[in-house]
Symmetry: D2
Subunit: 400 residues, 4 copies
């Protein structure tokens, strides 16, 4: 058994050039809807200063990016972010150094979708849902978005309500029509979810189902892993490792949860799990910008301030990444090969136990950023300004 | 090992007079809100013919009672069922053979309650929440309701957000003030819930916590067991047996679930579990009307028709009860005493495997009711009538 | 909404000829180890009359088959059922109308396998584990077994203990060597398990992983679904439907569970779930003997008598199957197409609520069997005889 | 929103004198059985150098205490640690600075206990189980142990197997007889467990049940919280806070788990959870030696070396404690009072993110200990010595 080295607070110079490069080029895509109001079925509480349209959402993403330096993209959600001039929207983003990331479809908020969308027993409704995705693909073209993300609320609440098997066949058929409409440089990423809002069965409940459909579609179809969409006790880093191994991990929807799909700030519930996930990414060489894995957030700031919530999320992912980059892989490999269970775990945990906040502060300062983005934001007056300015109109939320 | 007797379809005459009497006098209280629209955080789908006010909700409860003969009470929810003349509301109910059952408070839908109600760190907000309960107690007096049901959304989403310990102390203090305002013939029942809408911690998460507060309050404080409010794998019939043993089971909120608090039709997800629960009730002699246990439903018919959903729920509870009454307790006791694991289980399961629907049809006919309440309802034209009549106005839902 | 038909106790004549044929030809393979002692990490309690060798296990399987008429195969477990003359063992079985079914390998009880078998970091140990499987393939040839079942205890207990990713690659390589050794008429079925005995990660934790490896191996590699090997809340019938759809469901390991992998009598914990599972099988036409799905039990009778436990298990599967065959598929389809949630559920549940025990008694009598196999067994004196005869020697268990 | 202070690596001087004092006087009791072999139902792997008797177990505990300075007590397990001269055993411990802590009874490994012990339907067996506890009380007197710990494997595997309700009554009666036999300075602590080895119901499944029995017994009966004995998703720190509030938290059985009762090294699965638990202890003033809460380990080192496993466990608890002592309670209170969700969480997480290993190294050196106990142990030659010396005899395990 080889003990871990004495703990110390590492600095940037303790990172290899490659590791430092990875940390410097890491990016995290922010979801437009995280800046609007959200809640539970019991209540959506309101927050002052919430954006009223996608332009203001972009402003907030740009603010987070100015402070953290790692969030240069925004995910849009259609129809919540529908606008009549996507070109203008794109320019508004680019003017602030932001690009349009993934386009998220929404086929769960129309009365027609009560019993499903792409899996609905009614062909007319499936066609409507497919058409919505074709609209999303048009928006991708208009905004330069590289990926269409499909999350479906499809499922049933009662055994017998519909045929599980036939719904799979309908899903395969609907997805094929959507995939066929994509351009060569566009990607489809298919999200899975264990339950909610369907309570008896979900049509894409697990990574296996998502993968099976992606394999049937083609190489530009990949799986989205939302960290909150699993059964209790599921080992998420295993799924990460498996999907990376198969070349089919398209994207993360980061968030955290204690029970169900709580959509809390990523890393807030179980920072060690986030570290283990990022470790699989780093170990597999999947952190690099060209690895094909898009790191996105998908969160709901029901009680806390939204912009600070996103800042904290971005720094949490950075911290977990920095720790993963600090794992002494040579020592780890040696202990694993020797079958020394505790020594291997010690090497692994040693990186997690390390405080990387000073290192990240140093990294930010080296890039001309404030060392503490949260502090900088709170001192900036931005919050006070939007609270004063964003009065009247409809505060953004899930319904609009 | 003693095998179970040959299966057969039992008739009313196979029941002891006592068992028959229990089945004939069983009642199930219906929640007013089950007749309004409900949904998930993703969407509330609408249903034609939904009530617009508490009067119409009472009409629907009365209709279910006319058909099933077992639902003579309605739970009200304040403020959703607020009206300016509770005496008129009560008469409207009584005219149709319905009494006002439990009054449910609501301290989770006002902006003030964002961080809690009876546990809120802000004394002003706690006082406001207490005052709301005093209003509910007044409504109890006006409507003849015997019980105040408290379910709290209180909790936190993030570790450190508030002090778990201090919130308990505030809760105890708030509850004491409410309890002190009750009349001698009024009861307080305190519901617990594992999670949702709070995601990190819930202030009354389990039966132990509810019991501890009830013990501190006094004899007229009892625990409400909502069948959907437990961690995965929790043995609910154990809790039933324990609370009955302690004389502190005040009421059931029946529903069923596959994952979280799905609020599906009771018995829909796991009919064997419902049977096991009713078995503990029957075995402990807690089924009788004067046993002090109030059998209530608390469900959400998000996708299915609401009135049929309530009819099915009532008949599901009746079926589970009839099966529990059919358990051959002498044979069961003999097998248990002999330590014959399989024989005891066989006696138990034999009752569950029996089809009691003919027996219940016979019971209904003996009481002048249609043998199949669902069939009778669908043939009655009631649904068509309310769809035609209840047009305009605001369809009832959780927000109003 | 179409109501379900009036309930009644169906007889054989209520089944279509095809349904009756499926019920008559249904078979369930029994595991040799269910007849030996088993237990938990806390204690293995003993039972009188337990077999001492594979011959006596075959005798017990034959006895269950004589009584139920549906269990004509035995699964063997190597090394627990190792013998020096497999030809003699096979004849002993055939003389009693039993064939040798699946051969189960065991690479978890040798000190060498402490850190894994097919995934072990040590190449020598992987080679040893592969060699064990080659021995199993030889035993398949000697016994006429059509399938090799692989369940692995491989995994890790601590994060970092070994590389999740590299273990997958080793697994793929090991499996490929085993698969290559199979004859053309032999099949490999790969079981997955959520957790236990590994506590941090399991190398084949879910159906997705098992499928991915089967796809890489070839057409004669299929997935084994053990009903107890899932996370809490997992919708097992969905997985059944998906694997049947993909043509990759090789076998069931039936049992039931409340919490983890409890290995209780199938149908004992949630009979409605077993019905839903059999419904997917029936609906997909996968019940027929030539469907390629092998229905097996994998259970532990820790407290109850073993032979009665297997009889009950076989009749529980029969009951669930009969109910699934009674589902009115035309009415179900009509309700599903109409989007009538409750009517569809009603049709479905109507079959479950039906008491099919009389129908099955009739089926048995039509085949010259006693109507109640449990009763017949208890009256047969078999139990008393083996208790008297099987004295001395080593009672079979997991260790031998 | 108040941001957290700049991170830094704290030293001893950053602790208040009181906090430092608490850290210096913290103790953790070690379980004798953690030093013996353990495993799962699938296999107990062996480890060289494992103790053969309680004397050698004490030697190992003393070695851990020499290195960490925080483990001066050993829990014994009867009959695993039975000896014919407890006085000699006690002296052997005292000579090495170790005292005998809690006595653990065992009423789950005798054939008589197949269907339960204190809850068994057979009065003779209950009397036998009670008598075993009286023997344990005698051993407490002989060894100076202050507390009797009762964990029961009692429960059932199948619904109907026995009466849940009657078993509660038997339990209450059995416990009363045991409690009555205690001396005035002896305590009874009652452990609860969600499941395993019983699979359908457990007789003491949750803290509520344990509390209810303790309340019935008297003031010297308290609850043991084993961190691995809860349903998935249970908020353990809530239970800690509640039991401390009620004055009924008698002891911890520390370990960690991913799925069920994995009995892994405490802090290994979720270090943030361990921090949150210790935070409730610190916040409630329950860390002091005279607080009445006994901090014990209960772990199984199935794969890893046992002594290093215990060293790592002790240091993990120390680290979580040090972090809890570093929480800026004034800032936390201010943010909580202001209702600033993120700021409160930030203050809380700031302490967790801090690397306290240097501070603890400093603490050890100030007490004359090596800064890194693991390193010191590995360099000491102790492991090599016991591997050479402890040859022959029966290696300790759960069966002996």
């Amino acid at each position: 058994m080889t003990p871990s080295p004495h703990p110390a607070t590492p600095t940037l110079s303790d990172l290899s050039p490659e590791a430092r490069g990875l940390l410097e080029t890491q990016t995290i895509e922010l979801p437009s809807w995280a800046f609007g109001n959200s809640g539970t079925r019991f209540r959506v509480f309101t927050t002052a200063g919430v954006p009223r349209d996608p332009y203001e959402k972009i402003d907030d993403v740009a603010e987070v990016n100015r402070l953290t330096g790692v969030t240069p993209r925004i995910s849009l959600h259609i129809p919540w972010d529908r606008t009549d001039d996507y070109d203008a929207l794109r320019r508004h983003a680019e003017d602030q150094g932001i690009s349009i990331g993934t386009i998220n479809s929404n086929v769960f908020q129309d009365e027609d979708y009560k019993l499903g969308s792409l899996c609905n027993p009614d062909e007319r409704i499936r066609a409507k849902a497919i058409a919505h995705h074709l609209e999303c693909i048009d928006i991708m073209r208009a905004t330069g978005s590289p990926a269409l993300k499909i999350w479906l609320a499809d499922g049933t609440n009662y055994p017998g309500q519909d045929s599980i098997r036939e719904r799979q066949d309908r899903l395969a058929d609907s997805l094929a029509q959507i995939y066929a409409a994509l351009d060569e440089d566009q990607q489809l990423v298919l999200e899975y979810k264990f339950f909610e809002p369907a309570f008896y069965h979900t049509d894409v409940p697990d990574w296996g189902t998502s993968l099976v459909h992606c394999l049937a579609l083609g190489e530009r179809a990949k799986v989205v892993l939302d960290t909150g969409h699993h059964a209790p006790g599921t080992n998420i880093e295993f799924i990460v490792a498996q999907l990376v191994r198969l070349g089919r991990l398209g994207a993360f929807d980061f968030n955290s949860r204690f029970y169900a799909d709580d959509d809390l700030i990523v890393g807030a519930a179980d920072p060690f799990q986030l570290f283990r996930i990022m470790n699989e990414i780093v170990a597999a060489g999947a952190l690099a910008p060209d690895s094909g894995v898009n790191f996105m957030l998908d969160q709901c700031h029901n009680l806390e301030e939204k912009i600070p919530g996103e800042i904290r999320s971005a720094t949490n992912v950075q911290e977990a990444t920095a720790k993963a980059l600090l794992v002494d892989r040579e020592a780890l490999k040696a202990a694993q090969t020797a079958g020394d269970v505790l020594a291997a775990n010690d090497v692994f945990v040693d990186a997690f136990s390390t405080d990387v906040r000073p290192l990240l502060a140093e990294l930010r300062e080296s890039r001309g950023l404030a060392p503490d983005p949260m502090r900088a934001f709170l001192d900036s007056g931005y919050l006070e300004r939007i609270r004063a300015e964003r009065v009247g109109g409809n505060a953004a939320g899930w319904g609009a």
